[in-house]
């Protein structure tokens, strides 16, 4: 479903992502692990088209997308739920969600249906329907960001560090929702995390980034045993 071929990405003349190749099949649930500054966000922004790779190709459903504008990539069904959430702070929860369904804007019943499903995951969003997103706590904003990215029924969802800066209880809740997005909704999910514990417990396999390079990949059960991963990311 997603295929990266020797992708290099520069920011301001600096090579941030170096020679990354990876592949994700339809229905998979994959983790992208790495410490702060290892390049997870830059890689995700490259896949979503916000940044363009200097060298290399990104294919989605066998179509090269690395030269397409971001909104075209969203229309194809690849949606990034970004780090920092990037919500519309002075718009209500409802409008944030409606705009999340922008590619489906002519289909009001589908938007309703998708919104109801988001409320099943995060009932608090329904209670706060008319409140501005900017008045929310970090955890609530993260819920809204995930909800917004589900509104257009993505085929592939990239979730960039959804647990960063949140309380353990919220992290647990969000982890459960992400797991059910993968299992119940049959959405292919690519999850980036510094918090390897959470990610390795819910995903099937993972890639480990260091200094913009992929240094390790494999099944989660193996990664959990790996001495380097344990030391660096689990703290055990």
């Amino acid at each position: 479903m997603l295929k990266l071929n020797q992708v290099h990405t520069n920011i301001g003349g600096m090579q941030i992502i170096q020679d990354i190749s990876l592949e994700i099949q339809k229905g998979e649930f994959v983790a992208l692990l790495g410490s702060n500054g290892s390049g997870k966000t830059t890689l995700f922004r490259t896949i979503a088209g916000v940044l363009k790779p200097k060298i290399g190709t990104v294919e989605f459903d066998h179509v090269g997308i690395h030269r397409l504008p971001v909104h075209k990539i969203v229309e194809l069904g690849l949606v990034l739920c970004p780090q920092g959430r990037q919500l519309f702070p002075e718009l209500s929860v409802e409008k944030n969600l409606i705009l999340g369904a922008y590619p489906l804007r002519s289909d009001k019943t589908r938007i309703r249906k998708n919104m109801d499903r988001v409320f099943e995951f995060f009932p608090i969003l329904k209670e706060r329907l008319h409140q501005h997103a900017g008045t929310f706590s970090g955890g609530e904003q993260q819920m809204l960001a995930i909800g917004r990215s589900l509104m257009s029924e993505p085929k592939l969802l990239l979730l960039d560090e959804p647990s960063v800066g949140l309380a353990p209880l919220i992290v647990k809740l969000i982890g459960e929702v992400i797991a059910s997005i993968s299992h119940e909704m049959k959405t292919t999910v690519f999850l980036s995390e510094q918090n390897a514990n959470m990610a390795l417990n819910i995903t099937q396999r993972g890639y480990v980034l260091e200094n913009g390079r992929c240094v390790l990949s494999g099944q989660c059960s193996d990664l959990k045993q790996d001495e380097k991963v344990r030391k660096a990311y689990i703290g055990a």
Binding site: V50, P69, H71, V74, V79, E90, L99, G100, Y102
Partner: protein, 287 residues
Amino acid sequence: MELFLQQVFNGIMFGSTYAIVALGLTLVMGILNIPNFAHGHLYMLGGYVTYFFFATLGLGFWLSLLASMIILGMVGVVMERVVFRPLTGQPPINDFIAAIGSLVFLEAFALAVWGPQGLRITNPYPETFQFLGITMTVQRVLVIVAAAALIVGLHFFMKKTVLGATIEAVAQNREGAMLTGINVNRVSAITFAISTATAALAASFLSPIFMLSPSMGAILGMKAFIIVILGGLGSIPGAILGGYILGLIEALGGGYVSAAYKNVFAFGALILILSIKPTGLFGKKEA
């Protein structure tokens, strides 16, 4: 009392124009993050285009107004595409310089085509009537009514339509808007078109009342800029209220003291309001 009411009426009329021009400036500012300093000059061009259709080609007032709005809307789209879009992602000073360049060009263009002398279109509605003891012309009432209708219409457009919501979304978080599948370039172009077409509307309604001159854009652009600061940068209600307040201050100050000092009152009010509330009337707290 008559003088007071007469000046309030005039103030609301000036204020209507200011409110619309400032509204257009605020909308585009949300997209560019700097004020488009050429906005007053686009207003000026709108007045001349109306003059061209009305006085030169002899079309009716309403048709000329419509033609002017359409043409200025297209000018807005071209300006976004050619002048500002290539500067996306560069430091704001570049947009700033581009806007100054545009206004110099627009003023020189109007000067070359229509000359430096003031032009005026014949008033299509010169009838006067008495109301509450003050004299009103139909044209001036029309300015007030049209501005109010436009403001209400724009409000519904922004708050009740998806397209309106995308304009707010792009202003509040450009990358977030892209990631929801919004074509931000298209939204920028539409925002410019709305901004320039509404400026043309305001200019068309005022062109039977005031002389057109190539330099009128600079003064109005400066005032719109004041209003936008007064109302709180980027705030739509602030721009509207600020427009009416500035119109009233000018009319009352001009009526009771001296018309020669009306700009003194305008700038004085700006300094006063900003010293009390540095972020403007509707300004947000610094993030």
